[in-house]
């Protein structure tokens, strides 16, 4: 189905199932521990052996020699695979550094070997006997030092390296009020609960991998490419995923090494990346340095806005596209952005929780707060004054929906923003210095092809199959709701099967595109199935009404079970998009309000209250969507206050590579969180009239926290995370 024109009334608009706060249909499996995750698939194939991954001990250089003798002789060892004996390997389209390193080492903890043994303990013990001599090379590990030699990259994602409208330099120079500030965001790790994990089994030259992956088709394609085997010989299965956050968008070492280990051991092999490897072996969100310049009139209107960002990556890696939101968020006639990429030898930087956008908003939304300070204008009012309903670079291009102003106003009213004292460090509650902060939330809606297959059987049950994944987001549930709405059956009559590369190729889960596109694909397949049913029954498909398990046309009515009495009826289709994403800017908006307390003695920062107001198209399932947003807000608190992969610039690694040293928020850090959605349907986006939701929730949160800390203390911290050591000198005596 091609989606070329704004959606009109369709069966989804009945809202009998869609739009209801339905609990997750796979929830009972999760809460009873019976949803099988990749590493637990003991059932799928017998005789599984265990792999243990060895990561490079150096950040840059070469392997001079490997001695496998002792390890090979260790109890239970079945095989050891290294680059030397793995045979010729290609590299996935979406991988920068090779997943199996050697002799060249691209980054610390790059996998250099897998030891396969009969038990996990045997594999782990034998791995310690592998002797590797390294010849250490000189690596580049310091983004600030590499900044001057950074190049203008050609990003495959996000906008061009340089954008310009009007005359930024002149307008900035002429502006009566100017802000010029530089911000820094650190490297961050996804730190998902379930590490990358896979079980690989060969059947002749056909490979099946039970894994944990957000983008099944990408994974299968890159697996085939890496192994140099036909795409059709690879099957990836990933029905349950214990968190991904962008870290599982791509083929990673667990999949490849399980496959290589299984080939060498002639047995199925299971591999989970050990937790200490997770931080340097896999991808991470790259650090940025961002310079923002804004020129404004005294009444607050922005006349010039410029945003430059530097990030680094390994050879073949992409920049963090931190400037993209600045191109669209606020009005202003003169604009520029620049994205620069420094060559670094740290692990590969890649997508994480609103890649680019989250990092960019961390800086931009502090900058707006700083500008508000300089102007003496309330930060909510300043944002409203600079709202734009059109793409500021292309004024003929409208936003399909843009309720930023409504979000800000609604949030300000609910949060009690009027009680904020604009003068910093005035409000106290016992030993706590209290401050409030606000930031805009803004994330684009991406539309992309997504397919599904829908089957009606003689029991009247509907089964949906698509390679879409559920990474804890609620995909199972909203897909079931979509099929139930379309086919006129109760939710219980729908089965959803996900995450198998044998199923039609979906959009996958990433970039907050999963919800809208995957359900739109299911919508398309259901439209086709409705036509097939109508045709089978000799009904006019335009007139057929699907409700209560029955199809009606005129005075005839037939149950769905009867319609399929002669055999299953199956339809497969994809949603494909026309030009609406070009003619309209499709985005989601919100406003974050945060109250923090800063301990006047120790400068410890604790969040006290949070509110997000979001406008993100039709909310297919308010319960699932709310969970996504409050999870995202929690991650925003982590980004603001603690998450920091610390680079050891001498040894070339992220040194705090476990969950004790890389801190993410715990329950005690998260206070009462409130979030509401504004009513919105967006017919430009898809037949579902929905848009992405989840990543909107993280964009801006950290800046709202930072702004609240400033309001509490008067200290403006421009390098994240905001920790007590950066405030202590300014605490009251």
């Amino acid at each position: 189905m091609r989606f070329e024109h704004p959606a009109t009334f369709n069966p989804i608009d009945q809202l009998k199932v869609i739009g209801h706060p339905t609990s997750r249909i796979e929830g009972p499996l999760k809460t009873t521990g019976t949803a099988p995750y990749a590493y637990e698939r003991h059932d799928v194939v017998p005789n599984q052996a265990y792999g243990y991954v060895i990561g490079s001990a150096i950040g840059k250089g070469r392997i001079a020699a490997i001695d496998l003798e002792a390890a090979k002789g260790a109890p239970g060892v079945l095989a050891i695979v290294t680059a030397e004996n793995a045979g010729k390997l290609g590299k996935g389209e979406r991988n920068a550094a090779p997943l199996l390193g050697g002799p060249e080492i691209a980054h610390y903890h790059q996998a250099v070997a897998i030891v396969v043994a009969g038990t996990f303990e045997q594999a782990r013990a034998a791995a310690q006997l592998v002797r590797i001599d390294y010849a250490k090379g000189d690596g580049r590990f310091d983004l600030a030092a590499g900044r001057d030699e950074a190049i203008a990259p050609h990003p495959s994602f996000g906008g061009p390296a340089d954008t310009a409208v009007g005359d930024f330099a002149a307008a900035f120079a002429a502006a009566p009020v100017q802000l010029d500030a530089t911000y820094a965001t650190p490297d961050q790790s996804h730190a998902m609960m379930e590490p990358h994990a896979s079980i690989a089994a060969w059947d002749g030259d056909k490979l099946t991998v039970w894994t944990s992956n957000q983008m099944i088709a990408w994974g299968a394609e890159d697996m085939a490419k890496t192994l140099g085997i036909p795409r059709d010989n690879v099957r990836l299965v990933s029905p349950y995923i214990g968190g991904g956050f962008g870290g599982k968008l791509f083929l990673r070492a667990d999949v490849l090494l399980a496959a290589l280990g299984a080939r060498a051991a002639r047995r199925p092999v299971k591999v989970a990346l050990q937790r200490p490897l997770m931080f340097n072996n896999t991808t991470h969100r790259p650090a940025t340095i961002q310079r923002i310049r804004i020129g404004a009139e005294r009444d607050g209107r922005i006349t010039a806005i410029g945003h430059e960002s530097w990030s680094g990556n390994v050879s073949g890696g992409e920049p963090e596209t931190a400037v993209s939101q600045t191109r669209l968020l606020y009005a202003g006639a003169n604009r520029m952005t620049a994205t620069r990429l420094a060559a670094l030898d740290l692990p590969e930087g890649n997508a994480m929780r609103a890649p680019g956008e989250a990092s960019g908003m961390m800086a931009l939304e502090i900058a707006i707060d700083e500008l508000a300070d300089k102007l003496g204008i309330d930060p909510v009012a300043l944002r409203i004054a600079n709202d734009t309903q059109v793409d500021p670079e292309h004024p003929q291009r409208k936003f399909s929906q843009r309720q930023l102003v409504q979000c800000l106003n609604e949030g300000a009213a609910r949060f009690g923003w009027s009680k904020r004292n604009p003068k910093p460090s005035q409000v106290r509650d016992g030993r706590w210095l209290i401050g409030m902060g606000v930031a805009a939330a803004f994330r684009n809606n991406l539309v992309t092809k997504s397919a599904a297959r829908v089957r009606l059987d003689r029991q009247g049950r509907v089964t949906v199959e698509t390679d879409m994944t559920d990474i804890g987001t609620g995909s199972y549930t909203i897909i079931a709701q979509t099929a139930a709405e379309m086919m006129g059956v109760p939710l219980e009559e729908v089965s959803v099967r996900l995450g198998d590369s044998d199923f039609p190729v979906s959009c996958g889960s990433g970039g907050q595109w999963g919800g809208n596109n995957s359900t739109a694909g299911v919508y398309a397949a259901c439209v086709k199935l409705r036509e097939a049913i109508a045709q089978k029954l000799g009904f006019n498909s335009a007139e057929a009404v699907f409700a209560d398990g029955v199809v009606r046309s005129g005075n005839r009515s037939v149950s769905l079970a009867q319609a399929a009495a002669g055999g299953d009826l199956v339809a497969e289709d994809a949603i494909e998009y026309g030009d609406l994403a070009k003619t309209y800017q499709q985005s989601t908006f919100g406003a974050h309000f945060v109250e923090v307390g800063v301990d006047a003695d120790t400068a410890e920062i604790r969040v006290r209250r949070m509110l997000a107001v979001c406008a993100a198209g039709r909310i297919l399932n308010p319960k699932a969507a709310r969970s996504q947003v409050i999870g995202a807000m929690t991650m925003g608190v982590g980004a603001a206050l603690m998450e920091d992969l610390v680079v050891d610039k001498r040894h070339g690694l992220f040194i705090n590579h476990d969950l004790a040293a890389y801190e993410v928020p715990v329950h005690a850090d998260i206070p009462h969180q409130d979030m509401i959605f504004l009513d919105e349907t967006d017919p430009i986006s898809s037949p579902m009239k929905a848009k992405g939701v989840a990543e909107l929730g993280i964009c801006g949160v950290a800046a709202a926290v930072a702004n609240a800390v400033h309001n509490a203390t008067g200290v403006r911290v421009r390098d994240y995370p905001i920790t007590l050591d950066k405030l202590i000198a300014a605490m009251p005596v």
């Binding site: 200490p276 003695d601 400068a603 410890e604 001498r650 040194i655 715990v666 005690a668 850090d669 202590i728």
Partner: protein
């Protein structure tokens, strides 16, 4: 993890004798620290002596009015003990500020005292660390040292002792009771249990090989207002950046120990005479010879300010 042999000890004396009589043996109690380190091959014992079966899990009153805490009393039980909460509140508070509920259910009194540092370089066997591999160097010096010691450190090691409980025990002046392989017992004041790193940071205590901790004796209650304040980046489940254990008496005198600043719980009795003059005067003495790194210089004002807050609260 290397393969190892395992035995269950039947008596404290037998445990100590077995530890001395077997090459590369270690006691295992809750295992919450030791097992993690074994999986990473930072600890590589060839033999484990499980002491959990020893009847060292009681808290008894002593003749001098104090309490004797068995080495195997779990952190959860110790923190919850009515007598501890009433008379040694600083200890109960310190315990509850540590780790998580699940860990405290497992962790034992002796294991907690002997837990090893959380220096991230200690945990990565690819990097130099004198504590893990004597003579290999100290990667934390000149590296990421935000958590590290500001005082009492050496050219060889700047690690901190991570225990909360031990800081409270230091301020309470507990005595550690042990049995040695030859069956002899001794009592070690806690001040003498942990060592500064010097040029042998791998040797962390004055315990002799095979020496088993059997109990910790709390002297009779000292009264006063007792406080434990732990400062950290996240609200729970994080090691202290700085912590303060304090006992403040009605007349303004008292005792103070710091956590998170040194290779052992940090207490300088002479500094306590400054207590009536306030936190600044105390920390000036307590941290007089501090040599912080660029990353952890914040600990000096932080310690002073935290102590000031504790004293203010204690004095109402």
């Amino acid at each position: 993890m290397r393969s190892f042999s395992y035995e269950r000890a039947t008596s404290p004396g037998a445990a100590a004798a077995a530890a001395a009589g077997t090459a590369n043996a270690k006691f295992i109690a809750g295992g919450t620290n030791l097992l993690d380190l074994m999986k990473l091959e930072i600890e590589t014992p060839a033999h484990l002596i499980d002491v959990n079966g020893l009847a060292l899990d009681r808290i008894d009153e002593t003749a001098d009015g104090g309490l004797r805490i068995g080495a195997l009393v779990r952190n959860t039980d110790l923190a919850a003990d009515r007598r501890v909460r009433r008379d040694y509140a600083v200890l109960s508070r310190a315990l509850l500020a540590g780790a998580s509920g699940q860990l405290r259910n497992k962790a034992t009194t002796a294991g907690n005292l002997l837990q090893r540092t959380r220096c991230p370089y200690f945990y990565d066997a690819n990097l130099p660390c004198n504590k893990r591999k004597p003579g290999s160097g100290c990667a934390a010096i000149g590296g990421f040292s935000r958590q590290h010691a500001v005082i009492g450190a050496s050219e060889a090691c700047i690690a901190t002792h991570p225990s909360d409980m031990a800081v409270a025990m230091r301020v309470l002046d507990v005595v550690v009771e042990t049995v040695r392989p030859d069956g002899a017992t001794r009592s070690i004041p806690i001040a003498d249990l942990h060592r500064l790193p010097g040029d042998s940071p791998e040797i962390e205590t004055t315990l002799q090989p095979g020496e088993l901790i059997t109990a910790v004796a709390l002297p009779k209650p000292v009264g006063g207002t007792q406080a434990y304040r732990k400062v950290r980046d996240r609200a729970s489940y994080a090691f202290a950046l700085v912590s303060v254990a304090a006992i403040v008496q009605g007349d303004g005198t008292g005792r103070v120990a710091l956590g998170g600043v040194a290779h052992k719980p940090w207490r300088v009795e002479a500094a306590e005479s400054e207590l009536p003059r306030g936190a600044k005067a105390v920390t000036a003495r307590l941290l007089a010879d501090a040599k912080p790194t660029k990353d952890n210089a914040y600990k000096l004002p932080l310690a002073e300010r935290t102590l000031a807050a504790v004293l203010r609260e204690a004095r109402g």
